[in-house]
Amino acid sequence: MPVTSRSNQTTALERLNARENARPRVAVHKFSSCDGCQLAFINAGEALLELAQLVEIVHFAEAGPMDPEAAVDIAFVEGSISTPEEAQRIQTVRTNSRFLVSLGACATSGGLQALRNFNADGASGWTEAVYAQPEFINSLDTATPVAEHVKVDLELWGCPVNARQVFQAVRQLLFGVSPVVDKDKLCVECKRQQHVCVLVAKGIPCMGPVTHTGCGALCPAFGRDCYACFGPAENPNTASLSQRFDGLGLMPESVAQRFHFINSHAPAFRTEWLAWKERS
């Protein structure tokens, strides 16, 4: 998002853009999340060291550097917007960033914590049940994706994200081109890897046919059903897959729950959950 300022005072982003031949500056911001996506960075090991040569990592609390207000070329945002403070802070991050990437399920769809969006009383019932002194908790009633608050330039799905995908996106940005993210169904990759389809050969309710690829078909590689941690793929036919789950013998409540998990707030999954919730 271009940032314009009519005042004489230049913004942090304008000063950033005025630099010559400097290494691109990168920040990794944390919102409501488990830190697992940041760990995908840290666990990359050697690649992270290479990245540190190519860019200047100015803010990445989990790894050390702290400068949350820094203007940057690329901001990775992990986590959903779940508190009033976060709703404010994401605006600052957007203002200070040339290219904003939502990193993982929480930032991209609201994540697991977005299950509270379906409570009639918001988060308060759970807050009171869990915390000894709930008066210290200051949460919004909803946990929402970053894109519901500010413009997001690139969405990277996953719980957690796939480090290979993250570094590919960084590389594309360093080349100055828009990163392309494959939005195909997981099945396309699962079949490339020649895993035997768990839905067809075992009759277990795999979410692969409606799920965004990117993980490398991890669960089917171990004979498990995909549970859609990468969210909905493009053009997902959730209604037809649900019918199939119904045919496999799942009760309507169980069909509903397949869509009511890590990416429950994603519209395609929310709609399908509701349709089966009403039948149960």
Partner: protein, 373 residues
């Protein structure tokens, strides 16, 4: 063309494998049971073959059953894949690019060395599909060197099909259950062993080196009868081997909407189809930006990017993707390759997660004549 049929006792199958290895094909790949299906993996001996296994296939369902009293190792029809991934790799580097000392870019072909491999237990439908893929990939003047290198590394041992699955319809497409050509050796399985014939000079050389007795006429008759029964036992069919005009006359048929509502556009049918060859190419630069790999990987007409052109999708809706697949496979394929692209293996029926049946969809489309209006 064939040598006279020889009889290979069941106890001598490993001798055949040794003779094939002696011919220069050091690696053997054959059917094994893995994760609930028949898949092709490296094997060491006949003991690795799926003894007594039968496949029960139906739309959207595949199950293996063990029949303890059976000594047979080919009493199944097929699994999700056979030859396709061996010749048309699901993902492979075509070339690499490196920055040289002067800052320029150097391009280098990816390696095309493949260990000579014998594939044991190839089906007639897979040989027919291989022939189609060869037409596509090896057609002059630009044969694909990567495909060619993989293909030329293979020695093919066909086994005529005696146990078709409920999803099979190769008899109606004319591609099985007997393997007619394209193999080095072909075998029919009987309880006591195999009737073996050679299809190429190197296949005949392998057979001659073993000094086997001729197969008796009784054995040959029994083997033939099993294959004939396998053809007669198929319940599914396509109404014609050329549906081009019939399908072109039905491009606006309401049934495309009907199947579009069920189809997941997940691409499983195209991935298991032994003739589907669509692929996408992409570059994967290393993080340093100093090297890059140019990859080719399986794509599908059911993905969005497959029809992406200049900022719009030609086929956004599922019904259009399904129509593209079916009308290419059964109609425009004739214009490209002089035959239909379907060999009747039935994989797209069994491995469709929601059990869409190509034979049933074609029947539904044909039911109501010309439906342009």
């Amino acid at each position: 063309m064939e040598t006279s049929a020889r009889f290979l006792p069941r106890s001598s199958v490993d001798s055949l494998f040794d003779a094939i290895r002696h011919e220069g094909f050091s690696r053997l790949v054959g059917p094994v049971v893995r994760d609930g299906a028949i898949v092709y993996r490296e094997i060491a001996s006949a003991a690795d073959l799926p003894r007594g296994m039968r496949d029960r296939q139906a739309p959207g369902t595949y199950r293996l059953e063990s029949q303890d009293d059976s000594v047979r190792t080919f009493s199944w029809a097929n699994g999700p894949q056979a030859l396709k991934p061996m010749t048309f790799a699901p993902r492979e580097a075509l070339w690499r690019c490196e920055r040289d000392e002067s800052g320029g870019l150097g391009f280098r072909d990816a390696a095309q060395e493949h260990e000579p491999t014998a594939v044991i237990g190839v089906r007639a439908c897979d040989l027919a599909a291989l022939q189609i893929q060869e037409q596509h990939f090896l057609k002059p003047p630009y044969p694909d060197p990567h495909y060619a290198a993989r293909r030329s590394s293979l020695f093919l041992v066909a086994v005529h099909c005696s146990h078709p699955a409920d999803t099979c319809f190769c008899a109606s497409t004319g591609d099985g259950p007997r393997a007619e050509s394209g193999y080095d050796l072909a075998m029919s399985e009987l309880d006591e062993g195999f009737v073996v014939t050679g299809g190429t000079d190197r296949g005949r050389a392998v057979l001659a080196s073993m000094g086997l007795d001729p197969a008796s006429s009784l054995q040959q008759d029994k083997a033939d009868r099993e294959v004939e029964a396998a053809a007669l036992g198929q319940g599914r069919s396509l109404p014609s081997r050329n549906l081009k005009d019939a399908l072109y006359a039905r491009l606006e048929h309401p049934h495309w909407d009907q199947v579009g509502r069920r189809c997941l556009s997940c691409g499983n049918c195209t991935a298991v189809c032994p003739t589907c060859f669509c692929h996408a190419e992409q570059d994967e630069p290393a993080l340093t930006g100093e090297t890059s790999e140019h990859l080719r990987q399986w794509d599908s007409c059911f993905t969005a990017v497959h029809s992406y052109m200049g900022h719009f999708l030609v086929r956004e809706e599922t019904r259009l993707r399904y129509r593209q697949w079916l009308t290419h496979k059964l109609a425009s394929w004739h214009e490209q390759y002089g035959r239909s692209g379907c060999v009747g293996c039935g994989r797209c029926i069994a491995w469709c997660p929601v059990g869409i049946d190509i034979t049933a969809e074609v029947a539904a489309l044909m039911e109501s004549g010309d439906a342009q209006s």
